[in-house]
């Protein structure tokens, strides 16, 4: 009994030290570019790009598997900053800036189930059980995660209307 216990203990200790040493000695550096790209991303892990969260998207962009323009909430600004960081040439005209969108609750069919609240990556939806929910427009990124969760299709995305404050003179070169 004592022999078995002590031999296994010794074996465990030796192998543990060996593993610890190996993990230090043969450590593979993570790609620092991925971390930098991830820092640029919105970080809401909304999943619109099709990758598992912003970290996944950052890895894919840094690895060249995804275009710099794949993040809809980040829009043109993010695409440009990523392209500048990675030294990529991007065609911004291809960025489907379908324009910013906002989630809107149709109040007469909202049943107050709270499912959308749990899905929102930025805590932009207000409400309690059996209370009509509302969206804080300043906090909504238009990711659409809430839309699928709604059992009554009461929540949907609507484009943000263009206002005078956001209007930009057209480019005369393209006109």
């Amino acid at each position: 009994m004592l022999v078995a216990v002590s031999s296994l203990t010794v074996l465990g200790a030796v192998l543990g030290v060996l593993l610890g040493f190996a993990s230090r000695r043969f450590h593979v550096e993570g790609n620092p570019v991925v971390a930098e790209v991830e820092a640029l991303m919105p970080g809401s892990n909304c999943g619109q790009c099709g990758f598992p969260g912003c970290a996944g998207a950052a890895a894919a962009i840094a690895g060249g598997e995804a275009p710099a323009t794949c993040c809809p909430p980040g829009g043109k600004a993010l695409a440009q900053s990523i392209a500048a960081r990675l030294g990529l040439d991007i065609d911004l005209s291809a960025v489907a800036d379908a324009g910013p969108q906002l989630a809107v609750v149709t109040e007469d069919i909202c049943i107050g189930c709270c499912r959308c609240i749990k899905a929102c990556p930025t805590d932009a939806i207000l409400g309690g059980a059996k209370q009509i929910h509302a969206v804080l427009h300043e906090a909504c990124t238009g990711c659409g995660n809430c839309v699928e969760r709604c059992p009554t299709e009461a929540i949907g995305l609507k484009p943000v209307p263009l206002t005078l404050q956001h209007w930009v003179w057209p480019n005369p070169a393209r006109a």
Partner: protein
């Protein structure tokens, strides 16, 4: 150094900036100001100024008197809106904005009762003995904004006086845009009021001197102002050469004080404040008579117009009504412009209201807007000579055409005042200033996107923090409950053991 500087100054000085477009101020400038009677309907946009939109304080159906406040300022940089005539509020909602975008803006609609009755108003007695803050407050309550076209709330600028030690107050009467002559007429006919406003503003800002810059193509205005200024030792009328854009505040400051306002700073940082002469007159009206800004002088000009001239117009009047009063237009005007021809805005239709910052309406005929197709840049450098701030418009345009906005910023895009001299002189008719305006808008949009992304990241972090906290609290609560249950069980066990032991001997 000073000596060498003196010798070489004539050599090193660049050629005069700016351009000399055909003035075309006559015959409008020679007709006296006419007052437009109140139109049947007035549309009062809630944002006629730089800053946050005003907030309506009236209900539909409410009767208001002329000069009554219908929307209050909201936030630090904002301005209230007043009823320009007496009548009834009939709607509060979106209308087409006087803007080339054809977008909508919120406005209060007022149906005039045609009586034009003033609300009881009271001026400030002996304003020069009052605290400067009180004057600034009165100006803020009167909804006065920069009437030269910038529409920055005037009281905010007056308030800068004490924070940044204003030495010189400049009144801008240069009116360098072609076609416009409302400031000219104002100085000719109401010089006393303008000077009074200047004295009040000097008191409110604590400036030591007032200089009034007037271009040398307005001899009558110069004479009238000189006559009115008599007796005010610290108010001086200065004649400046007629050249576009002399009315730009930075250019006028250089001309009158020799100081160049550095990039990315304001005139107040170098101890100078520039206000339009129209603003000075409005301040005189607000302080001495208690009248808020409900009307302004406006030039109606252009070949398509039957009776060009200067009119005192209630804010909120439809351009359509204004043109009809001025004898209507001959045929269809090729272009309707709000403001001057160099920096004015193209109007989508005549069914838009005039706002506080509107210095004129131009109905231009087809011959006046003849436009050639742009050709390639021949690198003649005309635009660099014309640029009043010494930029390289041709280089900036090349960068912008290739979407290299950062390179354009490095060349000084943010210092561009958008005066349009470059596009005006360009022999190839390249839309230079249009490209710069587009680029500035794009940069502002990027800035907004970036802020939004940062805000999203903060919110996502806050959420994950919240989820962690909730999980932790749940675990703690569960542990607490488990401990309580355990204690309870132990207690029960002890009690039952005790009762057992008590009952055992029996």
């Amino acid at each position: 150094m000073g000596f060498l500087d003196k010798i070489f100054r004539p050599l090193t000085r660049s050629e005069p900036w700016g351009v000399h477009p055909d003035e075309r101020k006559r015959p409008a400038s020679e007709t006296p100001i006419r007052r437009l009677p109140p139109p049947p309907l007035l549309y009062l946009p809630l944002s006629q100024h730089v800053g946050a939109a005003a907030e309506p304080i009236v209900r539909i159906g409410q009767k208001v008197l002329k000069g009554e406040c219908v929307a209050t300022a909201k936030g630090n940089i904002s301005a209230p809106v007043h009823a320009p005539t007496s009548g009834e509020i009939v709607a509060i909602g979106p209308i087409t904005a006087p803007h080339p975008s054809r977008l909508e803006m919120m406005a209060i609609t007022l149906r005039s009762d045609m009586e034009d009755r003033w609300a009881p108003l009271e001026g400030l007695a002996d304003p020069l003995a009052r605290a400067p803050e009180e004057l600034a407050r009165r100006v803020a309550e009167a909804g006065i904004v920069g009437l030269g076209g910038a529409t920055f709330p005037a009281s905010v600028k007056l308030g800068l006086g004490h924070r940044s030690r204003i030495r010189t107050l400049i009144l801008n009467g240069s009116e360098c845009e072609p076609y416009l002559s409302c400031d000219d007429r104002l100085m000719r006919e109401r010089a006393g009021g303008v000077i009074r406003g200047a004295v009040l503003m000097r008191h409110a800002t604590g400036a030591r001197e007032v200089r009034i810059g007037i271009e040398d193509n307005k001899p009558e205005a110069i004479a009238a102002m000189r006559a009115a200024v008599d007796g005010h030792a610290d108010v001086q009328v200065c004649v400046v050469p007629a050249r576009y854009p002399m009315g730009s505040d930075r250019q006028l400051i250089i001309e009158l004080t020799g100081i160049e306002v550095p990039a990315e700073s304001r005139a107040a940082d170098v101890g100078v404040l520039v206000h339009n002469v129209g603003t000075a007159f409005a301040i005189h009206q607000a302080i001495d008579l208690g009248r808020p800004l409900v009307s302004r002088l406006m030039t109606l000009n252009g070949e398509a117009l039957a009776q060009p001239g200067n009119y005192e117009v209630l804010v909120g009047t439809l351009v359509e009504d204004l043109l009809a009063f001025a004898g209507g237009v001959r045929g269809e005007p090729a272009r309707l412009v709000m403001g001057g021809p160099m920096m004015g805005l193209l109007l989508p239709s005549a069914k838009v209201p005039v706002v506080k910052g509107c210095s004129g309406i131009l109905a231009l005929s087809a011959t006046e807007v003849a436009r050639d197709e742009p050709g390639p840049c021949i690198r003649c450098g005309s635009c660099t000579r014309a640029c009043p701030v010494g930029l390289l418009p041709l280089e900036m345009n090349a960068r912008i055409a290739n979407a290299a906005l950062d390179a354009a910023v490095a060349l000084g895009l943010h210092d561009c005042i958008g005066c349009g001299c470059c596009a005006w002189v360009c022999p190839s008719r390249i839309p230079l200033v249009q490209a710069f305006n587009h680029a500035k808008g794009e940069l502002a949009a990027h800035e907004r996107d970036k802020k939004r992304t940062d805000a999203t990241r903060r919110m996502a972090e806050a959420r994950s923090e919240r989820l962690e906290r909730e999980a932790r609290e749940k675990a703690e609560a569960a542990a607490r409950r488990a401990a309580e249950r355990k204690a309870q069980k132990a207690r029960e066990a002890a009690e039952s053991a005790a009762s057992n032991s008590e009952g055992a001997p029996a």
